[in-house]
Symmetry: C2
Subunit: 153 residues, 2 copies
């Protein structure tokens, strides 16, 4: 039963399912380690800031692929929780730079090994070559979609 053509697969659906499972695992492992006082998305911001502090909100939005209104709200929550702080830029008064507090930095450090374990588990029976191929193909389909539909990536 040879495959006649590409239409036998819905690649978008395959990617969505893989993404969904990864997401569910992230939620579960955060909860399992008592780290669900903040959410997966909020951790994304903390981890990003732990790599490079002092970003402004639009930069965070672009890097994480989220809208500015959502970043505003999440930063609000994180600020309320004392994990980040905003600081006005002196040169450009439109800009608010975002920094981790010490509490926030510790929080980010806690979640990193959980994420590393997830990555390892996900690739456990894949060779380095498999991984190279998977990443290459994922980036290709992403580029194709982005070009065809003029999506910013």
């Amino acid at each position: 039963m040879a495959k006649s053509n590409n239409n036998d697969y819905d690649i978008g659906l395959e990617i969505a399912f893989a993404s969904s499972a990864y997401r569910a695992a992230g939620l579960k492992t955060l909860k399992a380690h008592g780290q669900d006082d903040i959410t997966r998305e909020q951790y994304g911001i903390l981890v990003l800031l732990s790599l490079g502090d002092g970003l402004y909100q639009t930069q965070i939005a672009n890097i994480l692929g989220k809208d500015r209104p959502n970043i505003t709200r999440m930063i609000d929550i994180l600020e309320t929780k004392g994990l980040i702080r905003r600081e006005k830029d002196t040169d450009n008064r439109r800009i608010l730079k975002v920094f981790l507090t010490e509490t926030g930095r510790k929080k980010a450090e806690k979640v990193k090994p959980l994420k590393e374990r997830m990555n390892k588990a996900q690739c456990k029976d894949l060779s380095d070559e498999d991984i190279e191929i998977l990443v290459t193909l994922l980036r290709k389909v992403r580029k194709n979609i982005a070009e065809e539909y003029k999506i910013e990536i």
Copy 2:
């Protein structure tokens, strides 16, 4: 600059980005074709029903990988819009079977070519073999995550 190990890539992130681009393209093409009076997720339900009518809500939830409360809410909206109807099962009074109305069926038919075009665009420079490999690897990482974190898939 040879790669030392798997840790050079964040596969979860690669998948999430690909998924996000596909999602954004879906939203954009629905809007471009004047089909944004209902959402991408709501279309998912219509298309599923167009393949096999009379599913009950838990089945829809399982197939689409969504929670039952969300399905309840979306079915409410689709019912209000006259695109689906609920029907009580005579054998098991807990069950509500869901059917497309004629309007709903037409709506589902409209979106199908848009989705097919997206799939074609996404794979435009991939060989049939590439696609086979991509699907195989995606299913592997999904299975790995699901097993390690005991996620239902």
